[in-house]
């Protein structure tokens, strides 16, 4: 019994309709974010991953106050640039699952998405508000929990004074609100050991190892697989004209830098706090 791709797509569509009606566990249907909300949530999403939790909360709250707990889904710019093929509507679960299961690309990993509640829960948790755990599905309850913690005197950890931060002599680019840096340059600046693996024929880098390589222990950061997979881009990591671009926050984490920001066209980092 052989199944055509079209039949499979139809099946998945039917499956999705079934799911939509049944509202299975974890399957709450969120209102779809409009363009403005999606853009803000994209920025908030990047802010969260880059450790700027207050900024993520600020943006998510802005969306919440205007549109409620909406769900944004989007194709990252690097996916749009590198993926050779047609990308479905990011909210079309059936099509995305169909493409994934048919084996064309791991689209469920390529599409990014976030809800307001999820961003708020995770950001507040990172700031030390333990009471918000499990409340991402109910924003009013989550906010009540935050208010309660504030009334009890909780204050999240604060960064060192800004005048102690230093600028890095490092070029960068911004893509979908992620700060990307050339990996070789950045490793030199941050004092991280690295090894570049170059394909002999094309002279293109096909792998980057950041951190010390100790036998039977993986380096701190292995970028090889991402580059090798090429079109299946799940992270903002790519090679361009021989330069490998990676998110700065990956390297900052490896270098033990908790606080950093972009100011006046430069990346500023706080003195290391002894913790990652």
């Amino acid at each position: 019994m052989k199944l055509t791709q079209r039949a499979l797509a139809m099946l998945l569509f039917v499956a999705f309709l079934d799911f939509a009606k049944a509202s299975p566990p974890g399957g709450r249907i969120y209102p779809r974010a409009n363009e403005e909300a999606t853009e803000k949530l994209k920025e908030a999403y990047a802010a969260y991953y880059q450790g700027w939790y207050e900024r993520a909360i600020e943006l998510a709250m802005d969306v919440y106050q205007k549109y409620g707990d909406v769900h944004a889904r989007w194709w990252p710019s690097w996916v749009k640039r590198f993926y050779k093929g047609k990308l479905p509507d990011p909210h079309d679960y059936g099509a995305i699952l169909g493409e994934t299961i048919e084996g064309r690309a791991l689209m469920t990993m390529m599409v990014k998405g976030v809800t307001v509640g999820s961003l708020l829960e995770r950001s507040y948790r990172r700031l030390g508000y333990h009471g918000v755990y499990g409340k991402g599905t109910n924003v009013p309850s989550l906010l009540k929990s935050v208010e309660g913690a504030k009334k009890r005197g909780y204050r999240p950890p604060q960064p060192p004074p800004k005048n102690t931060w230093r600028p890095l002599p490092l070029k960068f680019r911004e893509e979908d609100y992620f700060i990307l840096v050339p990996v070789e340059e950045a490793c030199k600046v941050l004092g991280l050991p690295y090894r570049l693996q170059v394909e002999q024929k094309t002279k293109k880098p096909i792998g980057v190892y950041v951190g010390e390589y100790v036998e039977k222990k993986r380096p701190l950061l292995v970028i090889q697989e991402v580059l090798r997979r090429g079109g299946v881009m799940t992270s903002p990591v790519y090679e361009e004209n021989g330069v490998v671009w990676v998110p700065f926050y990956w390297l900052a984490e490896q270098a033990g830098i908790r606080w950093w920001e972009v100011r006046n066209g430069k990346i500023y980092v706080a003195p290391r706090q002894g913790t990652k």
Binding site: M1, K2, L3, Q5, A7, L8, L11, L12, V14, A15, D18, F19, S23, P24, P25, G26, G27, R28, Y30, Y45, H71, R73, L97, I101, E102, G103, L106, T108, M109, V111, K112, G113, V114, T115, G117, S118, E121, R122, H130, G131, V132, Y133, G134, K135, G136, T137, S141, K144, S145, G148, A149, Y154, K216, R218, P219, V222, Q224, E225, R229, T234
Partner: protein, 276 residues
């Protein structure tokens, strides 16, 4: 019946059909059938990796499905006392497929989609990884007993990792692989406990109380059922969010993650349904 070894080497029909398509060959490696305890789980999160690097942070390793402490756990008899495996894999068509570890192999393709699994009494589900940051760790799209659809579960690996890191940062020592196995087991549990509603009075699953008490699709009910079971509605099992907003969880999770479905209260081990 064929032996487990042979079954492990089979790739799925859709990925293996076009062996001349080079692109498909490489993508086909994404689609590994994890043969586990007499069932098939098609894992779209299994991408080929260098085992020395152990870099599985953004995808689902087959070990999360074959994990001895994961699905379906001990004591689950399956139907007709035969476990889940009743399929004669020799009935499939013969194809050559490229296995990421052993190279080219000739195998029988088991097309379990389109109701075939049900005709043959085999348990077959599809696992896909996702980076959509909704509040839940995973999402189940349908039951195994519905011949019109495919039981697909979507696992948000970064969210699972985030949860594990969070609990480990407050003193727990959860193993990421076991945690992933638990989340997958929970979702696969939904595919066979879909028909179970332990509390018909509560249907809404958006706030903490209703999540804890709705009992849908086999979820345990707070205050009535055991906390140590894969079907506890929160991860990690045993945890109850801060319902009274006093800044503390109303119940903390177990130090060790569960390894099984419960045999009583409500007795998930005996409530399963595979066939239409």
């Amino acid at each position: 019946m064929v032996g487990g070894e042979e079954r492990e080497n089979l790739c799925c029909a859709e990925a293996g059909n076009k062996v001349k398509d080079v692109r498909r060959q490489s993508i086909g490696c994404l689609v590994m059938l994890a043969k586990v305890k007499d069932m098939f789980v098609m894992n779209f999160g299994a991408v080929p990796r260098d085992p020395e690097n152990g870099d599985w942070s953004f995808v689902i390793p087959n070990e999360a499905i074959t994990h001895p402490n994961g699905f379906p756990g001990t004591g689950v008899p399956g139907e007709n006392d035969n476990g889940f495996w009743l399929l004669n894999a020799n009935e499939g068509e013969t194809h050559s497929v490229r296995h990421p570890e052993v190279g080219w192999i000739t195998g029988k393709i088991v097309n379990f989609l389109h109701g075939y699994a049900h005709l043959r009494d085999v348990y077959a589900a599809v696992v896909v990884p996702s980076e959509d940051n909704r509040p839940r760790l995973a999402w189940t799209f349908g039951p195994i007993c519905n011949v019109a659809s495919i039981p697909v579960i979507e696992i948000r690996v970064p969210t699972v990792r985030d949860a594990v890191n969070y609990w480990n940062s407050v003193g727990y020592q959860y193993d990421l692989l076991h945690a992933l196995a638990c989340v997958i087991a929970h979702e696969l549990g939904h595919t066979i406990l879909w028909h179970i509603d332990h509390n018909e009075q509560v249907q809404n699953g958006e706030d903490e109380i209703s999540i804890l008490t709705n009992g849908d699709k086999g979820h345990h009910v707070y205050g009535q059922h055991r906390m140590r079971c894969f079907m506890w509605p929160y991860f990690p099992p045993g945890v109850v969010p801060d319902l009274d907003n006093d800044g503390a969880w109303d119940s903390l999770p177990f130090p060790n993650l569960p390894t099984d479905f419960c045999d009583s209260d409500p007795g998930c081990q005996n409530l399963w349904r595979l066939n239409p």
